[in-house]
Symmetry: C2
């Protein structure tokens, strides 16, 4: 790289002041056409690119929204994996359908939504995953570089969240928790789970249902469980005190759970397994299929989220679709809103969900339109 040119270099070479160069970028209409032309020329010539840092400092805003989300990938494993080596092409029979890429579609979609909405408003998006020992630094660095922050549940610890929320608008993508003062954007987890459970009970006549939960500290997982129990209760069925098992929202975790439930014979007199999310449901499905349990004939299985994999799995997974892209969009919209209206009360927006009846809960004559 050549020495990076600045406004001064451009101004000098174009024979104008730095103010004019600045105007050329911020408000071209305020610059005479001929002058504009001259500046344009020099900018090309020099390969000038305005410094975002300088601009951010002077304008007191970065034009960037931060997005923070948790990661389930194993740090140590990342470190270990080599970036190279091996033959250029390897051919193998891939008989096992159970690959876990570690990717999280739900997060990817929400992030995509944030990018879309940010773009619509001329903002950029900065992503960060607080993992490892330096997690706090990651978050602090992010907070210092953005005008507002969107965070998924459990990505930032409560203390630090409180700290940075004093400086910039924070919107949490997940249900609010007790005494929580942030803006929230969430899907109708409760209503979706009630409707899904009702369907299993009313339309499929299933009565012996159990719930496979998510992480203890996930408010969404908790809300879904409550929706499940409420539907059971209202139907006059036995209400489980707690999930029959918990897993970490990953497919691998779902498989592990599936194996355990099978091994312990916990599935023997059960009609259905309602899972807290798709990935774990798919993992459970993997193991059931491998063990010869037929879904949905022997056991119904349902998920939650509506990721693409749930739609192409065999059997296709009945689930509740969250509007993931919209969650991300709305979160950013809310950040932007609060940037303008800082002093209004914290709000919680609940987006509608869609119960998608597919094959893993049984056949559908014409249940619903």
């Amino acid at each position: 790289m050549e020495k990076t040119p600045t406004v001064y270099d451009v101004a000098e070479m174009a024979g104008v002041s730095i103010a004019t160069v600045s105007r050329y970028f911020r408000n071209p209409a305020a610059v005479r056409e001929t002058t504009r032309e001259r500046v344009r020329e020099v900018v090309r010539e020099l390969g000038y690119v305005p410094s975002g840092s300088a601009r951010g400092l002077a304008a007191r805003r970065t034009g960037t929204i931060g997005v923070c989300f948790p990661s389930f990938d194993d740090v140590a494993q990342i470190d270990a994996r080599r970036l190279e080596g091996g033959p250029p092409v390897q051919v193998r029979v891939d008989a096992d359908a159970h690959v876990d890429t570690g990717s999280d579609l739900y997060i990817a979609e929400v992030v995509r939504g944030t990018e879309i909405e940010a773009w619509r408003h001329g903002f950029a998006v900065m992503i960060a995953v607080p993992r490892g020992a330096a997690a706090h630094n990651v978050v602090e660095g992010l907070a210092g570089r953005v005008d507002g922050l969107v965070t998924l549940a459990r990505a930032i610890d409560a203390d630090q969240l409180a700290h940075i929320a004093r400086r910039l608008p924070v919107v949490v993508v997940a249900g609010p928790r007790e005494g929580d003062v942030y803006d929230h954007v969430t899907a109708n987890n409760h209503g979706g789970m009630v409707a899904l459970t009702d369907h299993l009970i009313d339309d499929h006549r299933l009565t012996r249902l159990e719930f496979v939960g998510g992480p203890e500290d996930s408010p969404d997982a908790q809300t879904r469980f409550e929706g499940f129990t409420e539907a059971m209760l209202l139907a006059g069925l036995g209400v489980p005190e707690r999930p029959i098992a918990r897993c970490d929202f990953t497919r691998a975790g779902g498989r592990e759970t599936g194996r355990r439930l099978l091994a312990e014979g916990l599935l023997d007199d059960l009609d259905g397994l309602v899972c807290a999310n798709d990935q774990s449901a798919l993992g459970v499905l993997d193991e059931l299929t491998a063990a010869g349990v037929r879904v949905p004939q022997d056991l119904a299985v349902t998920g939650f989220d509506g990721i693409e994999a749930s739609n192409v799995a065999t059997p296709r997974l009945t689930t509740v679709r969250q509007p993931m892209v919209e969650l991300g969009r709305l979160a950013v919209a809310q950040v932007l809103h609060r940037l303008n209206e800082p002093m209004t009360e914290p709000t919680t927006r609940v987006l509608p969900v869609e119960v998608l009846l597919r094959d893993s809960c049984g056949p559908h004559a014409g249940d619903v339109a």
Copy 2:
């Protein structure tokens, strides 16, 4: 938000100089324990967060890597879609397995890789999608805010790429093009496609094969086509001049292509369809299945990329897995490397691929280990 505190506020309240406050963050070891404690206290008290802009300006580096990628979502449609409305829960039978979320798993995985590698080096990642009329501004804004840039193929036009590459390291995730001066990171598209085609020819005895291409301007799609023709040529088979069809790498595009090929009877005396990527292969598969064409019995279909959906589709799609996460990681690693060694020759790194033999090309006795 209260008035944002600065180093000056912290320094004054802690009874130290701003230099010490700065040290507290950059090099805590250089500050006496007792002083450190005092500063820490005030930082908490005030809710102080260092300004990334000011820091970036003073330090002449932002600690951020930019990642630029194309988008296939329709801008007008985005604008139109409402963010709210509708009933809180909707229940419907979802009989059609053919949903296209518009998400691109390939990109999501590459981005995940960039984030991981950036994190390993203490960098943040800023993402941007140049779409719409302001595409140039998006890219320029990004370029001004980062220390280096990773771009996927076709995200940035050649002129602008040349412009910003004068100011910061640029790494392109895709094969190099004629007379191209950037660093590149790519998968072994050619070798992977040759090996896959060889497999179809040698192990399945398929001879009448056609290629479903990608976008005209995709170097990767082009390279894959060349791999295909090379294998055909070496096997002494008829070599198509060009792809039998082209589509835009999306599942919807694949379906459209599938419909056209079916309608025009182009599939009638064919053994197999080699597609340029998974999404389009899945789309083609959707239509074939709907039309009663049995895969692989009537026609073999293969993909390229190795996204998760290819693994759970019915039939499971034979494909070539690109190391997507590694592509992203390596791209960032290369940006970082060039940040230190600016004057070395442009390099192209080709990462190994894996041909995954699954069900969509026919049964595998024990072809390969």
